[in-house]
Symmetry: C2
Subunit: 342 residues, 2 copies
């Protein structure tokens, strides 16, 4: 004999008894009210209100095998870059009646796999992944689970040349192309001696790769960079700048892999009396609000973080509703924003 129910918890059968109808009728009154007579509906609703009944969604999930929960895994939500995407995703899903289970990988593949496993155990209806999906085992696992998956913030692996690599759906942009565009912008503004400040993390590395390619294309081969171990904090910017200047005499432009870091570099320049952009150009990445608030205003690469979260949510909602989500691979692009700091 199982343990007794939680004290005071009212069940659907209690409502049924109170309303003088059967349990199914209550279920229908709640889920498909138009299939219930208006009068019955009123009686049931009154009983629900009177007893303070709250449907047990866990039981519903078990019966329907749909949890109405989507899980998202990001490296860390304390990085504004991801938190805005999560914000938009959570909001979009909530509007569609879904809730978000949050997981943080701390940039570690193993943590991510463990989280995926735990989320699959919860029978989440969908998954949003940022910063992984590269491990073959994980990919196979996800495919086997048959759960809709959206990858964000990265289109690598979803490149035209490698269609097999797109797990299921993806919304993002090419970090490599963005890095290259940043280099082109700096070249066009007349800078010649580049440096890069960023974290030692996949997307940052890709930006550096593109940045170097862009520099090389302009005949500027060496671009020093000391990637920092994530998570990176703004206050590491000063040190990084110093190292870069030591390594590269005549450094005249720095690309930071996010705007906050760039703001830190800007402050450091004020402190050391380095004219920006006169003596050193500083370019950010992301176009966070701080970019236009900075002095001088930061040139940067705009990434539509919020749109990324919304699109990811919409693709998932469409798929879960049985609709066609449209394209499975959405390149939301990026945009070089030329302001004062370059």
């Amino acid at each position: 004999m199982p343990r007794s129910a939680a004290p005071g918890r009212v069940r659907m059968s209690d409502v049924a008894r109170a309303a003088g109808v059967s349990l199914v009728t209550v279920s229908r009154a709640i889920n498909t009210p138009d299939k219930v007579a208006a009068e019955t509906l009123a009686v049931v609703r009154a009983a629900v209100a009177r007893l303070g009944y709250v449907p047990n969604l866990t039981a519903g999930s078990l019966a329907t095998s749909r949890s109405r929960i989507v899980a998202a895994i990001v490296p860390t939500v304390s990085n504004q870059v991801f938190s805005e995407t999560v914000e938009a995703l959570t909001r979009t899903l909530a509007e569609g009646g879904y809730q978000l289970l949050l997981g943080q990988s701390a940039y570690r593949g193993a943590d991510e796999e463990a989280l995926v496993e735990a989320f699959l155990g919860r029978r989440v209806d969908g998954l949003v992944l940022t910063g992984c999906g590269q491990g073959a085992a994980l990919r196979a696992r996800l495919r086997r689970a048959g759960v809709p998956v959206v990858q964000t913030w990265d289109l690598r692996g979803a490149a035209e040349g490698a269609p097999a690599a797109v797990l299921d759906m993806a919304v993002g942009f090419s970090n490599v192309a963005a890095g290259r565009a940043a280099a082109a912008h700096l070249v066009q503004r007349g800078h010649r001696a580049f440096g890069f400040i960023g974290a030692d993390e996949e997307r940052s590395r890709q930006r550096l790769e593109g940045f170097r390619a862009g520099a090389a294309a302009a005949g500027l081969p060496d671009v020093p960079a000391d990637l920092m171990r994530p998570p990176v904090q703004v206050d590491q910017a000063a040190l990084q700048l110093a190292q870069l200047m030591a390594r590269r005499a005549g450094l005249d432009a720095v690309l930071c892999s996010n705007d906050l870091l760039a703001a830190g570099v800007l402050f450091e320049c004020h402190r050391r009396g380095i004219a920006v952009p006169g003596k050193l150009a500083v370019m950010g990445f992301g176009d966070l609000p701080i970019a236009r608030a900075a002095a001088p205003q930061l040139s940067t690469v705009r990434v539509r973080r919020t749109e990324m979260g919304e699109r990811a949510g919409q693709m998932l909602l469409a798929r879960l509703a049985g609709h066609d989500p449209g394209a499975r691979r959405v390149d939301i692009g990026f945009e070089v924003v030329a302001r004062q700091s370059t």
Copy 2:
């Protein structure tokens, strides 16, 4: 006859059959391995691995009426101030085997109530609330549900004078006292004409209240402030500063209700050639990494956001494990950090 199980989904009974044991034994092998013979355990584990079995936690939750899910509601996760608390909370809960369901109230009480209702329907094992819990209906609802609740970021309602107001547990600090301390710091540094920049939101208002009280105590009665409608972005700082300076001739100190805003003010001062702190003192709130990266380094009020998330998580975990969570009301305090900007 109900629908067939999801294709390919392997159930516990499948594992049992494959291992040649009963279903209960598999359950025990997974949940209480020490109650199973070593040999049996090995056989079961092999079967689990071979079939790629993942326990269905939804079914487990229904049977045990414990979901191992905790829900958190914050105004928005895209505010770094909250995202760090959420980061720590998620991490702490994950270490204890719990997962976090995230909700965003967008600073709206109605949204918050709706979320609470939805989360209670999911039979979450605990709730972490930030920025509400003030509505009587909501409080009654939560009390009736009998779910452990931790309020964060605010100890109001948990004040010594009003013990009834502390819903269940709380970890935070007094925003009023913090505002007063900021005023005291500015007074002590010799500033006399204060202004305040912040959002029109409960905690910000409390800081302003304390700030004004502190100013008044020093004989500085008027402290202009134009609270902005949340969510507030850094790039609104410049405009706010201009308005403040227009309203208050001789303004010589500004308290911003977060560091990012203060960084925006700092940049604006650079832009307009206002010497900081010579001409204008700028004080932040929070002690985000940007505070020490800024030039001049920002004086601020340090709030241990990460610790707040960890403590909230620990209190919940302790309670859920049936242990004594210790104090139900934890004041983690704050600390005025005097740096260069004041």
